[in-house]
Amino acid sequence: MQYALLIYENPAGFARRDPPGDNEFVGAWRAYYKAVVEAGIYVDGGNPLLEPGTATTVRVQSGKRSVQDGPYANTKEQLGGFMLIEVPTLDMALDWAARCPAASYGAVEVRPLAPVMHQRIVRPDVQESG
């Protein structure tokens, strides 16, 4: 099964990414990423996100667009990134979530990916490789 590891961080967590850089922090993430890839469970598509201050939230209500400066929910811990993995069971996904550096300074939400509901749409001008 494929799972998303949704990484939640508080402001202090986000602050640790800033240059000149926290070597311990960067090292922990690099080691984790490497372990996930080497375990053969990494699924392409995940990424860290910039800090919540860069977020803009859009809603369309009665055809009218409303734009809000900031993230969707105004909570202390914010979505800081996500990673996709493929493992057979929730228990294994939880093991990998527990190893994630963010689990120690923030929180990692584990969610199964829903089965794809629609045919994958391929732009006619782009040839699918592989």
């Binding site: 099964m1 799972y3 057979p88 069971t89 929730l90 228990d91 996904a93 939880l94 199964p112 089965p115």
Partner: protein, 417 residues
Amino acid sequence: MRLIGANARRTPGDADTRRTVEAIARGSYGRLIAYLSARTRDVAAAEDALSDALIAALATWPRDGVPRNPQAWLLTAARNRLADHARHIKVQTLALPELEMLSEETDDGVLSDSIPDERLKLLFVCAHPAIDADIHTPLMLQAVLGLDAVAIARAFLVSPQTMSQRLVRAKRKIRDAGIAFEVPERDELPQRLDAVLNAIYAAYGNGWEGAGVDPLARGLTAEAIWLARVLIALMPEAEARGLLSLMLHCEARRDARRDAQGRYIPLSAQDPQRWNIDLLAEAERELSDAASAGKMGRFQLEAAIQSVHAEHARTGVTHWPAIAAFYQELLVVSPSLGARVAHAAAVAEVHGASHGMELLNGIDPASVLGYQPFWAVRAHLLTQLHDVPAAKAAYDCAIALAEDDAVRQFLMACRPE
């Protein structure tokens, strides 16, 4: 059992066959559900399929005779029902290989003699940390024992609709989140086993509290003991045996807790002749087997305390210093408000009421506001210390907080005038 009730209404016919099906269902329900759901992860679908298989048995067995291996017959019927269902809903590709594996296993005749017992895995799934702890016990009662949502709801004092919805939601999570049907690894085992033990004990506690109030609630104590026996047969861990011993001790004294008029009798005033000797003997065997592993834990300590109380039947005295020492140890292993209050009561028996009061006074007052046993013990000790006004006030709290009418009547009789 839910299925039996439903079947009984559908086929008024052959009573013998119905009894046979009931007996087989009672003996193998959890085993069949565990076997089917361990392979598909879908507890709800396994329950539906087995329910259909039992109905089919009631329709065909009177005509064709009871099959040589009824369990295997039911399993094959349920498996076919699952496969039909999977084809109908064009199940996610994920489930198809599992269903094929299931077909191969059942067709190979591997199962003709005995179905592998996967109930241990099912128990661990029901008490998985990814499932809300409040629903662990109801899940076990339903999936392993086949209790229906109405009976579970009654025991847990919620509406049948609410209980049903919560069970459906939990089973959906087990299926969709991909919770593993596995026995946890060594390093995780103590914590995971604790969750299973707590869930089983919750089923017992529910019936125990209800003793005398609602005769229907009493049923769950038997279910809890059954679950503990299932667990021990598959995993004879010391704490599991400690839990069974604890429940058997309480069960042995059940009838002695009420007099002929239904009045509450506290442990100290119970007639040991009314304790069930067979249950006590089994409780003692379980506890000594558990203790031989040398891993003392919460349930063994609680069972040991009950064991000291039970000694009263033989010796005519209660060895309070031992009880106080076990509570002391329990406070280290598994601190709780209940253990602190009980420890204070035991110390009062050994060293006098004032020592017990000292311990009670050390408990955070905010934590005991709604805790009935605290006020009952306090009232008892203050009476011994001849502090009548304070004792009256404590009795008033204890009486107001009592949920059991028999206990309330008992306390009202104790309250000094």
